[in-house]
């Protein structure tokens, strides 16, 4: 006797499903438990399995078509059995004996008690699946709907539970906006695109230190190490132009101007204004521009122009006692120099133990453009200039 393969009810509220794929062809032999067809609802994809051995006699619902729950989608026959036309019409005939079949229409069929319950629980009856005669919504349907909703609330899914504990752990949530958002985007872009390598070198700054004091006295201005380092870096780049490049597609572009980005920590986050044509500036000029940009950054007064066009960046964490770190290159640049804290080391010099002020420099570079040896070469230029700084300042 031919058996119907029917649309399974995969969920409480499932009314119909789509046959997304027939995994067996008409005439194909089927073993009990075989997956026959793939069914999809708006929530789930599942397979219909064969209840018994047989042959897929006929496909009644084509791939991509819908069928109501319980409606035959195919016919399973036994070997040697043949289908006659009445079997394929049987589905239609059976429908008339299936009192729960939903009749489509705008009118919602609902029993008086179900209506009352729905009103009490403030339920939209159009969302409730009726199982009564002709798809009429019964008391039980409303109760099931209410219970299902309650269960959803009472037993949140794992995901919901997870986020609930998160909410309990969290004190505050702040959306990424403005500077923070830009930093986030740029950093991700940089790390994703640029193969970073960082090299560290230790430099003695005894000379730089005394130079700073001398300049402060003679020029009668307040200088920072950043000011002096900026000048040394600019002069070092001039000796090693590969650092002042930008990579565009498959071309390394050497840039004329050295626009020195100086990272400034502000309340809103890291801001890197660029000193345009730092390479063409005298020391005092450079100091003044850096001072101006830094104070503008802290007062949130930087213009977009101030922030654009950097070709190399220095970032100083020395004041926070950082020994060394791996700075992230600003997209569009080839390297970045991290400046660290100054500390004293004992050194054996001229048959004496002396103290020496030292500092580490951390250079992150784009390995697509610069190799480790090139970077080392630039670092050795920096080291030389740090340790014999005068030359940089008389230019």
């Amino acid at each position: 006797m031919p058996e119907y393969i029917v649309m399974p009810k995969l969920g409480l509220t499932m009314e119909y499903g789509t046959v997304t794929k027939w995994m067996k062809k008409e005439g194909e032999v089927i073993k009990k438990g075989d997956a026959i067809a793939e069914i999809t609802t708006d929530k789930i994809t599942n397979v219909v399995e064969a209840y018994s051995d047989g042959i897929l006699g006929k496909i009644l619902v084509k791939e991509g078509s819908n069928a109501n729950v319980g409606e035959p989608i195919g016919i399973l026959i036994k070997e040697g059995e043949k289908l006659d036309s009445k079997d394929t019409e049987m589905g239609k005939k059976q429908e008339s004996f299936d009192s729960t079949k939903t009749e489509k229409g705008d009118r919602i069929k609902v029993s008086p008690i179900a209506k009352k319950l729905a009103a009490e629980f403030n339920i939209d009856l159009s969302l409730v699946t009726g199982t009564g005669p002709g798809g009429r919504i019964t008391k039980e349907d409303v109760e099931n709907y209410v219970n299902a909703k309650k269960e959803k609330k009472e037993e949140p899914s794992e995901k919901a539970q997870e986020s609930e504990t998160k909410i309990q752990r969290e004190a505050q949530r702040i959306k990424l906006t403005g500077v923070r958002k830009i930093i986030a985007e740029r950093m991700v872009q940089s790390v994703r695109e640029i193969p970073h390598v960082t090299e560290h070198i230790k430099v003695s700054i005894d000379e730089l230190h005394s130079l700073k004091d001398e300049l402060t006295t003679s020029l009668e201005i307040k200088l920072t190490f950043t000011d002096l380092i900026a000048k040394i870096v600019v002069e070092s780049i001039k000796e090693f132009p590969l650092i002042n490049t930008t990579l565009q597609n498959d071309e390394i572009i050497y840039l004329n101007d050295i626009n020195l980005g100086v990272a400034v920590a502000t309340e809103k986050g890291l801001i890197v204004p660029a000193v345009k044509n730092a390479g063409g500036m005298k020391f005092l000029e450079l100091v003044n521009i850096i001072k101006e940009l830094t104070s503008k950054a802290k007062d949130s007064k930087l213009s977009l122009d101030d922030l654009e066009g950097g070709t190399f960046t220095i970032t100083n964490l020395g004041m926070f006692n950082i020994d060394s770190f791996t700075p992230i290159i600003f997209p569009g640049q080839t390297a970045i120099l991290g400046v660290n804290t100054i500390y004293e080391e004992l050194r054996y010099r001229d048959e004496k133990i002396v103290t020496e002020k030292v500092m580490k420099l951390s250079l992150s570079f784009d390995h697509r453009v610069i190799d480790g040896a090139d970077a080392a070469k630039f670092l050795s230029i920096l080291k030389r200039n740090f340790e014999n700084p005068l030359k940089c300042f008389i230019i």
């Binding site: 004996f97 008086p112 009352k116």
Partner: protein, 453 residues
């Protein structure tokens, strides 16, 4: 396999299942050992209702004096029996015609399962993919000192009596016992009912059952509750009633203490039984998945109309359409005089299930149609839950109760609330409007009844 479905037993459950199976394009056969139509048609509902109708005729003669008639009648018991037999034969033949016109193959004879796909009946060994067991039930007899088959009859034997008994003792005040008590009393026998239980019709509310109890007693039926027949002698039986011995004369004793399922022929299907009983799921499927069972053989009701409903449920599932049996609104009818019918929950059952229930009543004597027919004996009772006023049950005692109950069956099935129900226009004057009046009473705004305090 020879068939898709073989139905064993041609009673209301079986023949209904067979016809529906055929309508669902299944190849179907039915096996009946005795007469098509089963107990109901041949030895139960139908023949008793023929006698019941005769009893009602006599009742109407008695009541007709109020309308100016002076009726003298002669009653010929054997003529009634002839009419009953003819009617039964005609209806049984009708079942056969129906089955044949639906291409149901009929096997006549006792059947026995050889395995879960094979039965043997007479000399035929036939196989089927599915079976529906609808073998029904038989009267139970209890052994009493002095018991003999000549004097002690079951309902089937009583229906084949040739003479109207002068004195009849009915053991058991269940529905069958009470119907026979009412019938034989009306036809002229002296009826004595002996019941082991202390309460009369404990399965319905007392305000309903009391009306029948009083009415039957007023008509001359003797009731011995909390009593039993201790010994049966040649012309009299000794009852022990509330500790006292009482002698009651009889020429027939009806034993109506219950019915037991017919399991004969199922012996080889050991796994069918659980604690000696066949159990089924909501689809009427037994523990052997290709075998279904419906009707008295499985319960939970022993009612013809439940059996036919279960037959439909079983066949529908066999045909691959999911259908679960629901007993939410099963009407129960007692064809006594007056009749009793109820559906859903009784007041006491409702009180067990719900925190609070509300009850509305309407007595027949203020119901115009009942009053004008001189049928003031009766009461309609509607039970609803307190919160939503969903109609949970209706009980009726009085004339035509067994017909009136169906409006309540529909109302309960359709999940009507009292406020929605009272908006249904009922024709006047009818007995049916009594149900609306009872619902009005429940709602607290009765029109034709003094508000109960």
């Amino acid at each position: 396999m020879d068939y898709d479905v073989i139905v064993i037993g041609g009673g209301p459950g079986g023949y209904t299942a067979a016809i529906r199976a055929s309508q669902l394009n299944l190849k179907v056969a039915i096996v009946e050992e005795r007469d098509l139509g089963g107990t109901c048609l041949n030895r139960g509902c139908i023949p008793t209702k023929v006698m019941c109708h005769a009893a009602n005729q006599i009742d109407s003669f008695k009541k007709s004096s109020a309308f100016g008639f002076e009726v003298n009648y002669n009653f010929n018991f054997s003529k009634l029996m002839d009419f009953k037999n003819k009617t039964v034969r005609k209806l049984s033949k009708g079942v056969e015609t129906l089955l044949k016109s639906n291409n149901v193959t009929i096997y006549r004879g006792k059947s026995e399962f050889l395995d879960k796909h094979t039965i043997k009946t007479n000399n035929d060994t036939i196989t089927s993919k599915y079976f529906i067991i609808s073998t029904g039930s038989s009267p139970v007899t209890i052994n009493i000192k002095g018991f003999s088959n000549d004097s002690v009859l079951d309902s089937e034997a009583l229906l084949n009596s040739e003479h109207l008994p002068k004195n009849i003792i009915i053991i058991g005040a269940g529905i069958i016992g009470l119907e026979f008590a009412s019938i034989f009393n009306e036809l002229g026998s002296k009826v004595t009912v002996v019941e082991l239980l202390e309460e009369f019709m404990p399965f319905i509310d007392k305000d309903i059952s009391n009306i029948l109890y009083k009415s039957m007693k007023n008509k001359g039926i003797d009731f011995y509750l909390n009593s039993k027949v201790d010994e049966i002698k040649e012309k009299a039986a000794t009852l022990i009633s509330n500790g006292e011995k009482i002698e009651v004369e009889f020429d027939k004793i009806l034993m109506a203490v219950g019915r037991k399922p017919n399991y004969s022929g199922l012996e080889k299907l050991a796994t069918l039984f659980e604690n000696g009983k066949i159990t089924v799921n909501e689809k009427m499927q037994t523990k052997i998945d290709n075998i279904y069972a419906v009707g008295d053989v499985v319960g939970p009701y022993q009612l013809a109309h439940v059996a036919s409903y279960q037959g439909i449920v079983a066949t529908t599932n066999i045909a691959g359409i999911n259908k679960k049996a629901s007993y939410k609104a099963v009407p129960s009818c007692v064809y006594t005089n007056p009749e009793i019918a109820w559906v859903g929950l009784t007041e006491s059952q409702a009180k067990e299930e719900y925190d609070k229930v509300q009850v509305g009543t309407f007595p027949y004597f203020i119901l115009p149609r009942a009053a004008l027919e001189g049928e003031g004996e009766g009461l309609i009772k509607v039970i609803a839950d307190d919160r939503y006023k969903e109609i949970l049950g209706v009980e009726i005692v009085g004339k035509n109760a067994t017909e009136l109950i169906h409006e309540a069956v529909v109302a309960i099935m359709a999940e009507y609330t009292v406020d929605a129900f009272v908006d249904i226009i009922h024709a006047h004057p009818t007995l049916s409007e009594g149900i609306k009046e009872a619902a009005d009473d429940l709602s607290g705004f009765p029109i034709n009844k003094l508000k109960s305090v």
